[in-house]
Symmetry: C2
Subunit: 325 residues, 2 copies
């Protein structure tokens, strides 16, 4: 049942979570960028008589983080996620990880989730376990929860499954893959800013006005129906965030103007990606997305300055995957 | 353009609103019971030189309310709704209404909405206006808002349009008709209790925990997807109310036990209809609904006593309509 090979590298994509009206429950992946994790066995194997699982994951190297992420596997999202899977599988061989961050840190593009998901996919292939997507999601969720301090599944879910993913319950996963209408294309602009997820979350508080919440679930129901019917006009109406964006607007200078530039250029909607500072827009086709990307990038430079990174991608229907063995 | 006839009678059905996870935004009609409103012209016509619309609706008779509803058209949901439509149409002839309440008062079955909707449908046909469903909904909403003190569209919408209706915005209406899976059947039990909507609403307060709200919109998105795919197992998981039912549970003695009796008998889910005291269950087919109806009725008698009224009906895809001219 368990095969063995020298090393396996997996890719997990950037993900846009919240998607305006789906705070903590909705997300989708881009085709790129993403994080890559390479897993290989290393010498240490936990002794067979040791009944409790041991920490048999180590991190060899992290590239692309400017030394900012923890090298201690027990405090690293990828390390914790890999360990969760090995423990669940009863695997006693040691596994070493190399992490290549393709995603900027604290960008609102699901970087923690991408590393955790790439790690479990790589480790699963390394040991030849063929775990279910539910198991991979559950272990990646553990990684994000412990490694990043909190987790909500709306980055993990899309990174594992691909496509528009609604996370009814994150763990154990109750995950719904929604249809992706033909043509639908995402624009993401990452301003030259960093926002800590924990700080962005603190702005929300722990209660919300009932009227705002009602509007949010009306919009989310409207969005799900619009995806099923490929109704872009209705999708556009649903892309309204009454919960997070109004309370986080101060984190991104010029947010209202940047949004307006996207809408003026033809976007169906525009809001923060995750807790920001990245912004996403949804567009009816690639041509519209190109115009929206240009307008948003210009507006971000004008209001925030620096050198924003801009990505244009279809809603990727592929989740994380092995890219090299 | 305007035809004339002696009288028109319209029927508008009982509606189940909230539907567990769709507080204030989701509802569906039963085939019966419902309210009937007969409209006919009467002598008084507002003078043509009077630029402001006059109160040219009167209520001749209300049957089935034990004298409890206001006979003053300006304070009656049906009267206000009819007046709103006549004003919008620029109609200057007087209209008299007779209202036959088929729905028990304060039952949680959308009685105010049914009277308002039946009134606008009857008046529209009487004057031959062929108004859009949006116009009818908007005028009925005015009737419920003024006549009942508040309105949320999740009874009005289903009573006008039929089928599972998601009300993104009540007025001006942005209304989405959701698919109704084959077989889906509702059971409604009206216990021998009355709950004032205003009191039930006061129990909710004006803010809710963010975590409860997140769970609610995850469930509503899950429900919309389940209706589109006819996935009864997923529909069952989505029928969870984290907002209203927990805060209103004390209004209905034995609520938890009654719900459990429905689930034990095979219901997909069970919750309060509107603000209660009526309870609804959704079932996969008519046969299951018969068993659930028997179990719920027995349980309601045991925990509440009195003589409950029990209704079994497919999710009606027909809204209000003219039944006699």
């Amino acid at each position: 049942m368990f095969a063995s090979m020298d090393s396996v590298t997996a890719f997990a994509p950037a993900t846009v979570s919240n998607v305006a009206c789906g705070f903590d429950v909705l997300g989708f992946p881009l085709e790129s960028p993403g994080d890559e994790v390479t897993a290989r066995f290393w010498g240490r194997e936990s002794p067979a008589r040791d009944a409790t699982p041991v920490a048999n994951v180590r991190i060899d190297e992290i590239l692309g983080d400017n030394g900012r992420l923890p090298r201690d596997a027990a405090r690293n999202t990828a390390g914790v996620a890999a360990q969760a899977l090995l423990t669940r599988l009863g695997e006693r061989r040691g596994v070493a990880l190399t992490i290549r961050k393709g995603l900027p840190l604290s960008s609102g593009l699901g970087g923690s989730a991408a590393s955790a998901v790439a790690a479990v996919v790589a480790v699963d292939a390394l040991v030849g376990a063929h775990s279910s997507l539910e198991t991979l999601m559950s272990c990646a969720f553990e990684g994000e929860r412990i490694g990043a301090g909190s987790a909500h599944g709306d980055n993990i879910g899309p990174a594992v499954y691909g496509g528009f993913v609604l996370v009814r319950v994150a763990n154990p996963p109750d995950v719904i893959r929604l249809p992706v209408p033909a043509g639908l294309t995402a624009v993401v602009v990452h301003p030259d800013l960093e926002i800590e997820t924990a700080k962005a979350r603190a702005l929300l508080g722990t209660t919300v006005p009932l009227a705002d919440a009602i509007r949010q679930w009306a919009n989310l129901g409207t969005l799900v129906d619009a995806l099923h019917r490929g109704d872009f006009a209705q999708l556009a109406r649903s892309l309204e965030d009454t919960i997070a964006e109004p309370r986080r607007a101060t984190l991104v200078p010029g947010l209202a103007a940047i949004k307006q530039s996207a809408l003026d250029a033809g976007a169906l909607g525009c809001s923060l990606s995750g807790s920001g500072p990245s912004l996403f827009a949804l567009c009816r086709d690639a041509r519209s997305a190109a115009a929206v990307a240009a307008a948003m990038t210009r507006s971000v430079k004008q209001h925030i300055g620096g050198e924003p990174q801009t990505y244009v991608s279809p809603i990727s229907t592929r989740g994380a995957r092995v890219i090299a063995r």
